[in-house]
């Protein structure tokens, strides 16, 4: 009897999982090169208008954070930067970390983006790769050589979102995996302390 309910529950879980996979599978087919390109068109449009808005630094960081959450897969990016430590973290810790990470990253890269004032970013090309899309853009700054800014877009989260940004080949995701890993080490793996510290860092 006990066994029977268990197996029925297992069956239910099984079918739900299959259903979810099917939906995810369909989602995969739904994201096209054009959609990936359109997403990044919006990202660079929003970033450019913030950069050239003439707002104060603090308000710009807030705007960048909203853009990051709107177009980026912040839960996946932040979780990935934790490496193996993510597996032992609770759901609420992961959520709190994602929130702190979003602010930290917006301040850190917001400072860099401020150097873009007066410049613009142009989408160049988009192409499908193994299981995601690559959208290449070029940043044109005044008095500087143009540089390459590449976004990686996926719909594995259920929505079309970017999960990495590469500046001249340097992956933000990989850099932050290294950085957050080092921060965790220096705090002896104490995630709560890291979350708390991240709120003011960047």
């Amino acid at each position: 009897m006990e066994n029977n309910t268990l197996s029925r529950r297992m069956f239910l879980v099984g079918t739900t999982a299959t259903g979810a996979m099917l939906i995810a599978g369909r989602g995969q087919a739904a994201l096209t090169t054009e959609q990936a390109r359109a997403l990044i068109d919006n990202v660079v449009g929003d970033i450019t208008s913030v950069i050239n808005s003439g707002k104060s630094e603090q308000r710009m960081y807030g705007d960048f954070e909203r853009i990051f959450w709107k177009y980026g897969d912040v839960p996946t990016i932040s979780r990935s930067t934790l490496g193996p430590a993510a597996r032992s973290a609770s759901r609420s810790q992961l959520d709190a970390f994602a929130k702190a990470f979003g602010g930290y990253l917006s301040r850190k890269y917001g400072k860099r983006f401020r150097e873009f004032i007066g410049g613009k970013i142009e989408v160049q090309s988009a192409r499908p790769l193994k299981s995601f899309y690559e959208v290449k853009t070029v940043a044109l700054l005044q008095g500087e050589a143009p540089f390459d800014l590449t976004f990686l877009v996926s719909d594995r989260s259920g929505k079309n979102l970017f999960f990495d940004m590469l500046i001249e080949g340097i992956s933000l995701l990989k850099a932050e995996r290294t950085e957050i890993g080092a921060m965790l080490d220096s705090r002896r793996g104490n995630l709560d302390r890291l979350i708390n510290d991240l709120k003011t860092m960047g």
Partner: protein
């Protein structure tokens, strides 16, 4: 004499292989390395600490004075002048890589900037659409199929690989300028190169300071940034092949 001839004879197959590799490489670039290979990390970290000390005590303060004292047009002139003196060396490397297009491109760049640009102080070549296309002997070795080798942080010079270390050494002797320059002027290219390094440190101070002084592990950050950027440049700026992207969903959904 016959001994010498014999040795050349032995070298002939090697030369054939080398030429073959060069011909091949003109069509397709070799695979770029991936991951991080750093067997000398303990030693490298010590060099990194020394380099950081040099930056804090010498390079960073000097660059701040440099940036404060010299107006931007002068700094740009120094940058242009130094970059122009490097052009012949880049051209030599372009041709060693059988990259005729870049070789010709950079030759014209050098001719235009040396004449119309008043000895390279200005960069009119840019207005002709001749942007800088840099190269070095490290890249030449890469094109010839030499592997990257282990990561090395070099004293004074910062991040690099074993291949890059060899490249930097060979490049010192590869610039035709140093062979045609009268002896009393040999200090000029060296001086220009040093000034250009100081100028770069000033120009990218925000980024460099963030990596060296704001990062939780500046050694690991510098290593990653160097390797990723160098491989990106060598692989044709991500145009030719699929770069080694990190897919976070593979960890999450295990695929």
């Amino acid at each position: 004499m016959s001994n010498w001839l014999k040795r050349v004879g032995q070298l002939r197959p090697l030369a054939a292989v080398l030429l073959g590799a060069m011909a091949l490489s003109a069509c397709a670039r070799p695979e770029t390395s991936s991951g991080i290979y750093d067997p000398n990390e303990r030693f490298n970290r010590k060099v990194h600490a020394v380099n950081k000390g040099i930056d804090r005590a010498l390079l960073r303060p000097t660059s701040q004075v440099y940036g404060f004292v010299l107006p931007k047009p002068v700094r740009n002139g120094v940058e242009n002048f130094s970059s122009n003196l490097n052009m012949p060396r880049i051209v030599v490397n372009d041709f060693l890589q059988l990259n005729v297009e870049d070789g010709v491109h950079n030759t014209f760049r050098f001719l235009i900037n040396s004449t119309m640009g008043i000895g390279g102080l200005f960069n009119p070549a840019r207005d002709f659409g001749l942007d800088e296309r840099s190269s070095d002997f490290g890249e030449t070795l890469y094109v010839w199929g030499v592997g990257e080798g282990p990561y090395h942080e070099m004293l004074f010079l910062g991040p690099g690989t074993r291949r890059q270390m060899v490249g930097i050494y060979v490049d010192i002797f590869l610039n035709p300028i140093s062979y045609v320059l009268p002896a009393e002027y040999v200090w000029v290219p060296t001086g220009a190169a040093v000034a250009s390094i100081i100028g770069d440190r000033y120009r990218y101070s925000g980024t460099v300071d963030a990596i060296l002084y704001e990062s939780a592990d500046s050694y690991a950050q510098a290593r990653l940034l160097y390797l990723e950027n160098r491989r990106f440049e060598l692989s044709g700026r991500g145009e030719d092949e699929e770069p080694e992207y990190y897919d976070p969903y593979e960890d999450l959904y295990g695929e």
